[in-house]
Symmetry: C2
Amino acid sequence: MDDRAHGELDAAQLTGLNDMDPEAFRAAAHAVVDRIADYLAGVESYPVLPPIEPGSIGSLFPEHAPEHPEPLAAILADVDRLILPNATHWQHPGFFAYFATTASGPGILGEFITAALGQNPMLWRTSPIGTELETVVVRWLREALGLPDAFAGLLTDTASTSTLIALAAAREAAGLDAAAKGLAGGGLAGEPRVYASAEAHSSVEKACMTLGLGRAALVKVEINERYEMDPAALERAIAADRASGRRPIAIVATIGTTSSTSVDPVATIADIAARAGLWLHVDAAYAGVVALLPDHWRPFAGWQRADSIVVNPHKWLFTPLDASLLLSRRMDQVRAAFSLVPEYLRTLDRASPVLDYTEYQPQLGRRMRALKLWMQLRWFGLDGLRRRIAFHLDQAADFARWVDEDSDWERLAPAPFSTVCFRYRPAALVGREDEPEVRARLDDLNTRLMDAVNRTGEVFLSHTRLGDRFTIRMAIGNLRTEARHVERAWALLRREAARLDA
Amino acid sequence: MDDRAHGELDAAQLTGLNDMDPEAFRAAAHAVVDRIADYLAGVESYPVLPPIEPGSIGSLFPEHAPEHPEPLAAILADVDRLILPNATHWQHPGFFAYFATTASGPGILGEFITAALGQNPMLWRTSPIGTELETVVVRWLREALGLPDAFAGLLTDTASTSTLIALAAAREAAGLDAAAKGLAGGGLAGEPRVYASAEAHSSVEKACMTLGLGRAALVKVEINERYEMDPAALERAIAADRASGRRPIAIVATIGTTSSTSVDPVATIADIAARAGLWLHVDAAYAGVVALLPDHWRPFAGWQRADSIVVNPHKWLFTPLDASLLLSRRMDQVRAAFSLVPEYLRTLDRASPVLDYTEYQPQLGRRMRALKLWMQLRWFGLDGLRRRIAFHLDQAADFARWVDEDSDWERLAPAPFSTVCFRYRPAALVGREDEPEVRARLDDLNTRLMDAVNRTGEVFLSHTRLGDRFTIRMAIGNLRTEARHVERAWALLRREAARLDA
């Protein structure tokens, strides 16, 4: 790039030694702060989804890495020019797709400090504060979620990893001795089986792939008309597998599935797990934070009986990526699945046993995720977090009501949390929804509707299929979303539906 | 905590809605910048290892999460009071333990911007810039490392994950169909086997545990007196396993082992892998960046024939945790191991195939790791990175020479990179090293010596065992380390050795 003239190189760049001087860092970081604050103040001015095509960005960058240092001012100018216009703006209050991940102000500051400290709490010794603060924050969250102190846990990167860890522990708890002997030894009493509803998150299936259980190990249990796991079908599946010599090891129940945020009947499933002697993992990655609200305990009835639970602070607790909370009452099994301490990691000068988090996860190294959570929990307070989650629940209830009250629209699933599943279904078509032609027309109409709404740049909604119907999801959970954004989404949907249907 | 009076709550804290106001964020972030710049400027004033005992920190924090918001000033005061004094200072120029992970100034700024943007490049659509910039940065690094364009890749969190991905791909490439059918199906032609030297990193064994291959699947191949894999032993092991019905799937060769930074004979091993039809994974997590220096190609001879390679920017490329580069010439097999696209993640409005990185890793979500690397590569330039790595190589050569030239010290392994393995061995004991009593005394002496040196707080060195001898490792690679710090480490070692031996 020919903008090397844009600004001056600092001393360390000229000498080719050492890091950026702390005073140069100070000046540069102040400039970055203003850029970030401007971005956050003006994020609504960006289209949520950038109006670009795949492959259009890579060519804006040089073919080869730069040989010589460039001034920071030139790099920051390119952040404005190349990065911001080509981002999907997860921070935009009109982000209603998937499940929101907002990076809150105190969370961003927590990440900034985390990056500067460079902690690696793999061992107590490599980060005493990272290790012990993680234990504190995990306890704070566990207690705030209303779970008993039999649960301990750790912070991982994503729910995928948390669920993988849980199922690896289940593999050990079932006596497969997989960590030591592997699954291919032939000594196993039957092929392992994991049970989850047909609506469970893909991370369960992916964990089965990674762990060597295979996609074949996952039994997708039937759901009812509310997209909840049918416990009778679960029991039948377990019995049938046992009868044919397979080896059930775990059940995954979901509180807040990704498609429709349905809630599996956890208490009943816990009974089944107990009777069958199976590990129960509860995936509450999205909805788990609702357990912070005492009035909303109902979806969580029975989850305290799980062997492991995942709740993602980086979803609806406004924590910057990445932070997933894995809780388990059987941390010994988690350790059995992942503990391995080579000589070069042994801590020699401590008499007492030390908690080294690396023994509880597939990776050796790990980021300090506790600091940002600690800062956030203090800045918001539990009360502040509850208020914001309650606000999103209220907004979703409003949106669901608007859909229900408009005869041209149809809700396609219950909305127990902050996500509403719906579609445009002109009143004229009521009663004809199951005719193949109408079915196809509604799918097409709603596909184009979602696309049209997203192209406005004001909002971003995503879809799923429920009962084999194209379903638009309105997922509320961005920290910056206000009532006016939800209202605007509804107005845009109605406007674009009217246009398409004209 | 009773310091709620310490400063004032901002508007969003009082209303319990929305995020920190952007202007409040601006002010807070400027305050954080000054704190971080002060920390980096004064990091040498901290003891590298905090002089505290396990369990001493947790009790400094409240038992329960705060119910009500606290002013940011109070939180930042506690960063000074509770966080900094209890950290192991990876940023300290006297950090010579394990392998260094420095967070460079431009890297820290990259993480700060990354946190603020909240990108999740799991799909192209969820972060076009995160996706395409990752492709750019991976290409830049691949080319700078001298590897052919048959290699593509991605950024993962750690070398553990990169190696796990590589071995999962190897599992598919070997035709085990593990992702689909699992390993316990019984249809396998023999138990799988993975080969790595006895000095290979624990992450290889951990990947075997996670992947359901089991620790039993890992064959630890004999090493020579330089701690390098013996290729003849490798060939014998493969042949013996095949003869007894086992199923070899992959070989892991290491360029820069963790204990002694030894280099397996990759070219010879590549021949063996080709003859045996096995996947070759090269673990160059620490030393790989030395391939940026054209004069130092020798340890890398043959690595371009690998199926996959891991190199960690978050080690010796000064990138803040976490960033591991996985390269592979068989990305189709990586995809076969991890691809799974549920309806709610389908991108509908694109005709052309899109690169979605989530299909190449065990997790669904992922952080944008490309931005910090892009900023760093431009700020340092390849030339600047080479100079700094070369400086560390020179410093290590100096240190190795000091050890070699002092008759009271003994080097315990070659030092092909920036890590020197040595021990104190008083000249009077020369020739008696193998007597059991002397052996025990030297182990004890060096254990206490390392402890004494670390307790000075000026440096932090870690240990390993080589040839069953307690071995001190001097691992140079911190971006802020200058010649004076290496000299100081040597002076402290000699001073404390003299004291202990007195």
